[in-house]
Symmetry: C3
Amino acid sequence: MTELKKNNNFIILLSIFHIAFIILFAIFTKFPKKNGQENATENYLYFTDINAMIFIGFGFLMTFLRRYGFSAVGVNMLLACTTIEWSIIIRGLLSEHFVEHGYFTLDINSIIYGDISAAVILISMGAVLGKLSPVQYLIMAIFEVPAALVTEHVIVEILHVSDCGGSIVVHVFGAYFGLAIAKVLNRDGIQKSNHEGSIYHSDIFAMIGTLVLWIFWGSFNAALASGEEAKRRCLINTMLSLSAATIATFITSQFVNKHRKFDMVHMANSTLAGGVAIGTVANLVLDPFISLIIGTIAGCISVLGYEYITPALSKKAGIHDTCGVGNLHGIPGIIAGISSIVLAFVYTSEDYDIELFDIYPALKNGRTMSSQALYQLLGLGLSFFSSIITGAITAVILRLKIFDQVPDEDLFSDERYYHTPSDFDFTTRIIGHIDNVEITEKTI
Amino acid sequence: MTELKKNNNFIILLSIFHIAFIILFAIFTKFPKKNGQENATENYLYFTDINAMIFIGFGFLMTFLRRYGFSAVGVNMLLACTTIEWSIIIRGLLSEHFVEHGYFTLDINSIIYGDISAAVILISMGAVLGKLSPVQYLIMAIFEVPAALVTEHVIVEILHVSDCGGSIVVHVFGAYFGLAIAKVLNRDGIQKSNHEGSIYHSDIFAMIGTLVLWIFWGSFNAALASGEEAKRRCLINTMLSLSAATIATFITSQFVNKHRKFDMVHMANSTLAGGVAIGTVANLVLDPFISLIIGTIAGCISVLGYEYITPALSKKAGIHDTCGVGNLHGIPGIIAGISSIVLAFVYTSEDYDIELFDIYPALKNGRTMSSQALYQLLGLGLSFFSSIITGAITAVILRLKIFDQVPDEDLFSDERYYHTPSDFDFTTRIIGHIDNVEITEKTI
Amino acid sequence: MTELKKNNNFIILLSIFHIAFIILFAIFTKFPKKNGQENATENYLYFTDINAMIFIGFGFLMTFLRRYGFSAVGVNMLLACTTIEWSIIIRGLLSEHFVEHGYFTLDINSIIYGDISAAVILISMGAVLGKLSPVQYLIMAIFEVPAALVTEHVIVEILHVSDCGGSIVVHVFGAYFGLAIAKVLNRDGIQKSNHEGSIYHSDIFAMIGTLVLWIFWGSFNAALASGEEAKRRCLINTMLSLSAATIATFITSQFVNKHRKFDMVHMANSTLAGGVAIGTVANLVLDPFISLIIGTIAGCISVLGYEYITPALSKKAGIHDTCGVGNLHGIPGIIAGISSIVLAFVYTSEDYDIELFDIYPALKNGRTMSSQALYQLLGLGLSFFSSIITGAITAVILRLKIFDQVPDEDLFSDERYYHTPSDFDFTTRIIGHIDNVEITEKTI
């Protein structure tokens, strides 16, 4: 293990960013004098749920790596907090209020948006989990936040694409940004590392994350929906889609295994694909069974992705996806986008009745349902390509020698970056090789 | 380990059920056009709490088995999701709205009810934990849902029994349904298996489940209470009863142990008995100290149950209760039912003032408080006997050869049904037999 | 291991206390006939968050000790429940309603206050974690509750000190009460015990607690704030302060380590210092960037405390602080108090506009902002000295021979007080000494 001693890059960079954030907050942010526009208590109800998803959900989901649990939970916190501060600033600078008044105000929605931006970055983190040093994770977040927010601004504010639960602007963007980095940073050592993989208890820790994400996903999809009816549909459709995806995951997980055994990787991830796949259309679906179908498709395809696509991409295309974000966020996000295109043909503007302009604001200005479908396609494509391009550029920067690169022997391992207890090596490495122990006499 | 290879029962059955559910949803469910009857945000607040109880609470509580953690969390998800879909359909078909209109609508209450039905099935799962194959768990859920819902319909809708937190129709039914199966499926191998039991960290994982159940139990008991005052009482009475049960658990747990040591089995389970025992009467208790007394009794009896009744039932009556659901749900549920009978004599109809008809709707039609007490007894008895009879019938079906039975060597073990990491055997079996290790020289 | 056999102190004392609580509840508590003053649903939203903090947050945060996980979670539950009952009684007896009517009523705020009192006691528990027997923990709670509540009553009700999130009356009091006990009970065995410390998975368990505290801290600081605007500020300021503290923790944690490694002790604790440090002023800060600054200072100082102050206090002053509550609650609480003094000079009474008398009720009676600053100082000093004096007195009682004292070999270990599984010693002790294992031939 090479020593990091005297390498102060992380300390210096994070200090600079954090001080800059404080200065930008001092210049540009205020509390609103009176804010009658927001129901703080109701928004806060959604906020705590989403906050749990970001800090516990994402953090613990990534603890499945047996030697990388400290980093999973710790770096998750670091990137979430950095992103929350940084994204509040950028989103504020992009807001109409800033253009008009020269400052912007903070309310509960600001921190909800902060958490949602954190989701983008943490999804990307999943693709490169175990392969970046703390300073590289940090640089990634710093570059990704403006890339994601500008892309989102174009898609949602300018093109008026409907993306209620953010599957297009959060999940697709986060997944392919991360995979672009994974591709550019790929090297032999990553494919050959024997530190990857789980142990029994790390898989159980990961399920804490999975379940926190599962139970609160409705809040994520509904938080920003406008209108009471739309919010209720978001919550119910998400629950139905998640349930269907979970059932589909069990079916497919056993189906792809010749011994008819379930795989915890599928339990931990594909069960959530239903939440992503319904995201864009959670407010749009007017018939509950459609949510069941979308969830079912997402669960099946996600398991197939883990079983066949991830290993193939890794071996043949050099795209190593540690958490399989392509199968949990990428493809299900694309399913969400495609669903939004299909639904614009399934439902007519009459079906949405008085809710129509809340749901598709651009139809007020004469856009038709079928041209809305085209815009949905455009938004999906834009998010996909923008994430790959900006991800690849970020990756090139991450490869610069001045940033600490992870040596091969420290891939997927906490040891280089965290003080680890004395049992670390035994618990996370040796333990997997023991089949039999000769018991000495009882000593007590 | 016999191979399951080519046994497609689980895949085929779950696929058929799931497709049938989707078709039934397509035919019978709609979103309400306008739903002014429900405060979606308030109901959703209770829903997420209950959702956490079902998926994290029940799931992690059952991870105490050292070799069965994947199944505990995984099968818990599977049964919860299957039940949510299936119970929404059955409950809808039993509803007045369906009788009148030929379809039924979904709102937040629908998914709350779905979660509550899941609780029934997951309680039964606790009694047979480690002893059924996935396909058997599935069949159990499919049969239990209509049995539980028809019983509940008779008790609550027809007999107008008051059961606010569902201790009679959820806890008593779930516990004795599961125990009836345990009795019928009992065999020598179960009593002799050496895979049962916990390790240090599996006991700590289980406490995640316990605490999630503990902190949100008020929401479970209050979600369906009608009236602001009644809801507040439900929340406070549940909190008091849980606190009292926790204190009683500590006292009794030390008392029954000759070395004056606490037992984590009691901490993990009996502390929750207060939530069950107050369930039926959480809205009825008008004097806070009564909740303390009910919780105290429940905590004491539950610990005594774990210490004396469970082993006796297992050895002498052939009723092996893996999680001790008889002591956490069964007896405390009966205490709840009895409390509801007693309280009908303690309080007069004047005590409930303007709330009376909200709480006891049948009194509008001339029923007296003492005849209400009789109905409470009738409801309790009905739930008890209905659960045993339908449970026993279900168990006979589960014994059919066509359903995969768990071989003795795979009881209480994930190995046959889950892909397990390389440390599985060491972490969950060998580790318990090691008392001393000779340390070789440091190698690094 | 000396046997506890036949020592019934714990059973007798807890039974007496619990029965006394039930009698006091029977005499003095009622439900309100009609309570129009409280929005039960909104208060309950905050309550469940705080309840999660108390039972999961504090409980799991203390599982970091590798051999003391059962006690951490279990004793945490015991003290929380005992405190909730006991503090409801004392707070009721101190209330105006009791003075006027001879009884007091219970609403959701009562159980919120119960949980907040539990926080005081659980903070103190952190300072003496692993060093007291169950009966001693119990005695500590019984004495600390009235000490804390009378102190709080004087500070908040009589001196009208502003302490919205309770950093002065909860965190400072709890920390220094615990440290006073730690000082008085100090002995050689504590410093020399080799059972202290974590293993890899116990550190990860602890992060469950940390994250639950982190995500819900806003609810703790906002629950008792009066006014919609003030509540919103509390929530946002707390989030900003926590984020800043987390970032500062990462910077400082790497900075103090010559190998530039992060330390999980800092991740688990100092990231939360921002929530404490903003507590007293969460409703007072009108400029968001000030929260970032307060959080940053708290995070930095907390890490420095863990790195330098805790070991120095332990070795030189004989104050052994198991969880480092001085750095998580003590010093950050003092920072909160000082911030409240400074802010009384930063903002003028005009800045608070119509909110002024909600925030500083004493200003209605002619108190000026600068004399309010003096009162804030007085309140901080009073909490500090009252906690040390009452803590020291409590400690003298705890040393009485009649209460079971923990023998040296059982410090920081569950073994004496809990029934432990067969892997206990291997998992929590032997495992840390293994560097290499000779693998025998595969046996399966």
